[in-house]
Symmetry: C2
Subunit: 130 residues, 2 copies
DNA sequence: AATTCATTTCGCCGAAGGGCGAAATGAAGA
DNA sequence: TCTTCATTTCGCCCTTCGGCGAAATGAATT
């Protein structure tokens, strides 16, 4: 029990991972989309997602070349859902998170093909055009 | 906001600190009592308490030679109380925590004077006598 | 079967964090 | 004022963890 709570607590005790959880609130996202928003190396994002998945905070769905992640909606870890709800309800207005949401909007205006080819550069290009 | 959540999350992302929070649920305790239960160095316990205090999870009260800590009951950090409630309601039956509670009972059967003089050894002596 | 390519795994680096002993602090008592 | 002593702070060690590039994986396409 302590062990299970500890896994969830350690998982959310990192800004990048909380940013990912907040990004996933509106719906599932592809790894490359998350990577483009956070502007970190794919290896880093993959590691974060693996930690979140192990904690039962996110689920994974593979479709074609891409892997989509979404917030957990079923209790794998008894503390995961409660923690997600807490983050959802209480962690709201924040400069970094608002920035992420704006960036996500631009990311989602691109096809996955374009995004994977161009990476974060394409996102900045969209920002420039608007 | 993200910053504030991060501080609380990192504070509870450690087994020793969660054990301390669970110990404090029935009521305030002296530093030496917590030290005797967890069987860690006073310096270590003090550091943990400082982290919990900075996160707004515990309050401090000085009385004579001793310092008493208790769970926060007023919102210093907007996430602290919610996290405490979550830990209180959901983190329950666990071998380590049960062990701590049993050890706490023995600790509380000693006066602070005896406890501070003898340390953890006195606690083991009580266990032996019962 | 070979290629492409999004994702993951591996190995490494530097920073952060838990643990302790020793020294500092500071309040109570002599 | 001087001593005592619970607690805290400081410095150090060692482990854990976030980050990255390079290599491995594995599914889809040619």
């Amino acid at each position: 029990m302590l062990e299970a709570f500890d896994i969830v607590a350690r998982a959310v005790a990192d800004r990048s991972r909380v940013r990912i959880l907040k990004l996933l609130e509106p719906g599932e996202l592809c790894v490359c989309q998350i990577t483009a928003v956070l502007a970190l190396a794919p290896a880093t994002i993959s590691k974060h997602l693996s930690v979140l998945k192990s904690a039962g905070l996110v689920f994974q769905r593979k479709q074609g070349r891409w892997v989509h992640y979404r917030l957990a909606d079923r209790a794998v870890n008894p503390y995961a859902l409660a923690m997600l709800i807490m983050i959802q309800e209480r962690v709201g207005d924040d400069p970094a998170l608002n920035e992420d949401r704006a960036r996500l909007a631009r990311v989602q205006s691109l096809s996955l093909e374009t995004l994977c080819d161009q990476g974060a550069a394409a996102v900045d290009a969209v920002a420039f055009c608007q």
